[in-house]
């Protein structure tokens, strides 16, 4: 099973490599280390969000509110920073994680305690969170001049030659990897996705596990709220509008099964990276930005078709293992 899983991620890595090679043949500068690091940095936020979404999808749920959570949390910390520039940035980052986690917990409680389907809950909170951005900001923007220099500069600083933003992605990926593969909670995410009924009999609280998945996706959304705002130095109602589906697309391309229970950290990262590479490569080879949406749509469909084949194979392998 491990071997097959690895081939799927390997296939994705090869696809990314193929895009890189093809573009580099035309434009040798594209594959320079500096540019590759830029692509990685550009994709950092999407990678983190995809990991949060993966945790939720593993539990047979879906979080449509991530982008709205990001916009709301980002607006709150941006306004806090504009009003109280003396507040240290690490405190604001901690606050953004806490606010995001709180919004995620709201989703989680509705799913856990009231047993409302996640897609309905997050469809509702998607519009509620987005509307709240307008309410707290009065429709006004927070622009670069109002943000403190520290607020903007922190993620642009470098450590060991990598921008801090990239380090955020690496740390989050490492934490989620440990959570998913080395803790009972991570196992529970997979278990209730594979078979919720059997999970109940093994003593897993299904509702509570979903709750924690939503808290995780919320916390990551909140963190990305700060990162997004300080990266693009503008906080407005439109921030990351419609991005929720891009996040899900990254997961799907990365082989996370929408039916729950299947998906890896590496897959989600590669899925996000694939979208990042494609989006970076298109302008370089002179494809108009208007083509971008159609091409990523086509990429999603192709990835889904290939993934579906992989999943049926995987099902058979599980049966073989069980009978052996």
């Amino acid at each position: 099973m491990n071997r097959l899983l690895r081939t799927r991620e390997l296939w994705l890595a090869l696809a990314i490599l193929a895009v890189l090679v093809l573009v580099t043949i035309r434009f040798p500068r594209f594959a320079q280390p500096g540019n590759l690091l830029t692509i990685f940095n550009d994709t950092s936020i999407l990678m983190m969000l995809a990991l949060g979404q993966m945790a939720v999808i593993l539990t047979r749920s879906i979080d449509l509110s991530m982008a709205s959570n990001l916009a709301l949390t980002g607006m709150i910390v941006a306004m806090a920073n504009a009003a109280f520039p003396m507040v240290p940035i690490p405190l604001l980052i901690a606050a953004s994680i806490a606010i995001g986690a709180g919004l995620g917990a709201f989703n989680g409680v509705l799913v856990w305690k009231l047993d409302i389907p996640p897609i309905v809950v997050t469809l509702g909170t998607l519009t509620i969170f987005r509307g709240l951005v307008f309410v707290i900001s009065g429709g006004a923007w927070v622009n670069a001049a109002q943000m403190s220099p520290d607020f903007i500069q922190l993620q642009r600083g470098a450590f060991l030659g990598l921008p801090i933003l990239s380090w955020f992605a690496i740390v989050v990926a490492a934490l989620v990897f440990v959570l998913m593969t080395r803790t009972p909670q991570g196992r529970a995410f997979y278990a209730i996705g594979v078979n919720p009924t059997a999970s109940v009999y093994t003593g897993i609280n299904v509702g509570q596990t979903k709750f924690w998945a939503f808290v995780l996706s919320g916390a990551i959304s909140g963190l990305c709220g700060y990162l997004w705002i300080s990266r693009y130095v503008i906080a407005s109602v439109e921030v990351a509008s419609g991005y929720e589906l891009t996040i899900i697309a990254a997961c799907v391309i990365g082989g996370v099964s929408i039916a729950g229970g299947i998906g890896t950290v590496a897959g989600a990262l590669l899925g996000a990276l694939f979208l990042g590479v494609v989006n970076n490569a298109l302008p370089v080879i002179g494809v108009s930005p208007f083509w971008q949406m159609a091409i990523s749509g086509a990429a999603i469909l192709i990835a889904v078709v290939l993934n579906a084949r992989g999943e049926t194979r995987k099902g058979r392998v599980i049966l073989k293992r069980a009978s052996a």
């Binding site: 047993d115 309905v120 208007f290 159609a294 889904v304």
Partner: protein, 332 residues
């Protein structure tokens, strides 16, 4: 309704009287609609006026027309997130046809045909290749709108003939708009189709248990394919109405419609897990959403703030029966 907390992962509809649940849901919606209507008439002196109420219908008819078909798709346990992008593509190709000198009947034919073609493409991917519809339609959502962007770029198509504009702006009788009449006719057709035909019964059967339906002779894939074509068709019709009403086509047309359509369907009492729901509920939910947005509009509440009310309404209305049941269990 029996206790669902212990069977939360199994469809509990077999042991629950669906009809009774649906009836009570609809009465709840009627209550909500009347409450909002009364609140509106107290909130603004401009509300209780024939033209005002007629304007109100433009708030929801285009989305509601799609919601009718979406309800059937969701009852079978599938979903279509690409409907707004189908509108964008259909509208763009209508605009393109206009540039080549097409007249009104031709424009309508193009819009409807593009809608059906897009729906058939979704249906093929879902039933032919056995892919999950939520993922397929996230893909085609980007794909269809992407093609609209490729064709249009940052341009727009304008100059639709007056006879075409009638579809979105014309009135059939005094203040009764063509859009509203079309929606009501479509609602009756879908009501009969879902609740009084074998086809409708099969739709419910698939949603309750697709495997069992398959074994009892229901051609599950063929029905799902037809339903995706149907949402495509209704999206094509909505594209005609919306384009005619706006008098122009931009690639960003109908952005975000898909979530509003799904909100209407879910608010209307259709289970997102499939297997239950009614057309009357969907019509009522559409009316409620129209009333809320229009009422708040009269109070000069910005559109984005209205979305808070719609989102909250969705969660509260869904949560109410559950909370009520929990409360009853506690007191019993």
């Amino acid at each position: 309704m029996t206790d669902t907390t212990h069977t939360r992962h199994l469809p509990d509809r077999l042991d629950s009287p669906v009809r009774a649940a649906v009836l009570s849901w609809e009465s709840l919606l009627v209550l909500v609609a009347v409450a909002i209507f009364v609140a509106n008439s107290f909130a603004s002196p401009y509300f209780l006026n024939a033209w005002s109420l007629s304007d109100l219908t433009f708030n929801f008819t285009e989305k509601a027309i799609i919601a009718l078909a979406m309800a059937l798709v969701i009852i079978t346990g599938e979903i279509d997130l690409s409907v707004a992008s189908i509108i964008a593509l259909a509208s763009t190709l209508m605009g393109l046809a206009l540039q080549f000198g097409a007249d009104t009947p031709m424009l309508v034919a193009v819009g409807v045909a593009v809608g059906i073609a897009c729906g058939a493409f979704n249906g093929f991917l879902v039933t032919g290749l056995k892919l999950p519809s939520i993922v397929v339609t996230i893909g085609t959502m980007s794909l269809f709108r992407g093609i609209a962007y490729i064709i249009l770029g940052d341009q727009s198509f304008k100059g639709y003939p007056a006879s075409f504009s009638w579809f979105g702006q014309g009135y059939v009788w005094w203040v009764i708009s063509f859009e509203l009449v079309l929606f009501l006719v479509a609602a009756v057709i879908f009501y009969v189709l879902l609740h009084h035909t074998n086809f409708g019964r099969r739709v419910f059967a698939i949603g309750n248990n697709a495997t069992a339906a398959q074994f009892s002779g229901v051609r599950v894939d063929r029905i799902k394919f037809v339903l995706f074509c149907l949402t495509g068709l209704m999206s094509g019709i909505a594209a005609v109405l919306l384009t005619a009403r706006l008098g122009s086509t931009r690639p960003s047309i109908a952005q975000g419609f898909e979530l509003e359509v799904i909100t209407m369907v879910v608010l209307g009492g259709v289970s997102i897990l499939g297997g239950s729901g009614s057309i009357i509920g969907v019509v009522l939910a559409a009316l409620i959403m129209g009333l809320v947005t229009f009422g708040l509009g009269l109070l000069n509440v910005p559109g984005i703030v209205m979305s808070i009310f719609i989102g909250a309404l969705l969660i509260v209305v869904i949560a109410l029966p559950i909370l009520f049941k929990m409360w009853k269990q506690r007191t019993a």
